[in-house]
């Protein structure tokens, strides 16, 4: 008796999926954009500078940026990720939280978190970052300086007013240093 009522309430579902016209009639939202394969390093969720775009000047961004075009100048992303696509060419000093290089970059880069140099990348410039990943096959010329977060030291004893012997000085930019070889 129970089964019979259920069968009556729910007719067997059709084997064929509903058409878009049927869905539209029923008011179900449906994307009209054809499905596409998203590359792992694609610009999903990032602002995009496409292949045919050439920018000269200062670029600031408060969102992730994917560059597959050309930029000459400076690039600064506050706490965001910069990805240079395989066709991307940047001639600029770059600052970001994370920088992924698949294309070409000439300039010094500073990443608060991580630099990722992929196998087809060409990077000429000095790197300052907390972490770095370099794939085999990448071309890199420049210096690498790993900046470690400063560890808070316990309060100094009253007698130790002067700096302790052996305390390393803060790293400084070296005039005529590695950058001079570019």
């Amino acid at each position: 008796m129970w089964n019979k009522r259920r069968d009556e309430s729910y007719p067997p579902s059709s084997a064929t999926p509903p058409t878009s016209a049927q869905l539209a009639r029923e008011g179900i939202p449906m994307s009209t954009i054809p499905a596409r394969s998203v590359e792992a390093e694609g610009p999903r969720g990032s602002a995009l500078i496409g292949k045919s775009v050439v920018l000269k000047g200062q670029v600031y961004s408060r969102e992730d940026l994917y560059v597959d075009g050309e930029i000459e100048g400076t690039v600064e992303l506050q706490e965001q990720k910069l990805t240079i696509g395989p066709h991307g060419k940047i001639q600029a000093n770059v600052k970001a939280r994370e920088i992924v290089v698949n294309g070409t970059l000439h300039g010094n880069i500073e990443a608060t978190d991580k630099v990722d140099i992929r196998k087809d990348a060409k990077l000429v410039g000095d790197i300052r970052t907390a972490r770095i990943v370099i794939e085999d096959g990448a071309y890199f010329k420049g210096s690498i300086d790993i900046s470690r977060p400063e560890v808070s030291k316990p309060a100094a004893a009253p007698r130790s007013q002067q700096p302790a012997a052996g305390t390393a000085p803060q790293q400084q930019a070296l005039p005529g240093g590695p950058a001079a070889a570019k």
């Binding site: 370099i134 096959g137 990448a138 690498i144 070296l174 240093g177």
Partner: protein, 237 residues
């Protein structure tokens, strides 16, 4: 022209793929196919007395500048920066091919050209005097023609601090026309992981006397002859 040079730079032109018949030494397998196939190549590890001594020199202090001629190698970057040092990375072999427009027929022709030599030094080894605390040259020097080799060793002398060390490798087989090029990866302070990259024509054969003469300005030259017919040399300024 520029596109061609960039292409060759990215593809590591000038490397002659090694054939199965190549004999790079005792240990290494001879299946290298050049930089494009680096991932697929078998690496082997070797205990390196030379590197052991080099690494002992740079341990126990921080903020040294180390020059590495092997190019971008993750393991080397991790090792050197893990000790608290800074690394200057330069892929000398790939850079040579671009600067000197090396070709299979005449890989060393332009390495005798004074202007090209000056360009190479200015673009790649233009640092303050006494800037570096150590340099890892691996086996790159044996692929430099004599005029370029001499100029490079002189420039290295300028940019190294007194008391700092160079680590260089030379093949001990003085009859070989070609030698394997390798990517040397630092596994630990005594061990290197060696990945063949291909074969190159040797520019100059070195015996111990020739090496001592080459580094005549330096304070000391110390040899380690390894079982795989490779001379490991520590040179101290």
């Amino acid at each position: 022209m520029f596109k061609e040079r960039l292409k060759r730079l990215l593809l590591g032109g000038g490397e002659v793929p090694s054939s199965p018949a190549a004999k790079p030494g005792e240990g290494p397998p001879s299946t290298a196919r050049g930089p494009a196939g680096v991932e697929a190549l078998p690496a082997y590890s070797r205990h390196s007395h030379g590197f052991e001594q080099f690494s002992s020199q740079i341990q126990g202090c921080e903020n040294l500048w180390i020059l590495d001629f092997s190019g971008a190698v993750q393991e080397n970057v991790s090792f050197v920066t893990g000790l608290g040092h800074r690394l200057y990375s330069l892929d000398v072999l790939r850079t040579l091919d671009v600067t000197f427009e090396s070709s299979g027929d005449d890989p060393y022709g332009l390495q005798s050209n004074p202007e090209k030599i000056r360009q190479f030094l200015d673009e790649n080894l233009n640092f303050e005097n006494e800037f570096f605390d150590g340099a890892l040259l691996w086996n790159t020097l044996e692929f430099l023609a004599p005029p370029l080799l001499e100029a490079t060793v002189d420039r290295l002398y300028q940019v190294l601090k007194p008391g700092s060390c160079l680590l260089a490798f030379f093949h001990a087989d003085e009859k070989a026309a070609t030698a394997s090029t390798y990517t040397y990866r630092i596994a630990d302070p005594k061990t290197l992981l060696v990945t063949p990259r291909g074969q190159r024509q040797i520019a100059l054969h070195f015996n111990n006397r020739a090496i001592e003469k080459l580094f005549g300005r330096y304070r000391s030259v110390k040899f380690f002859l390894a079982r795989d017919k490779l001379r490991e040399v520590i040179i101290t300024k």
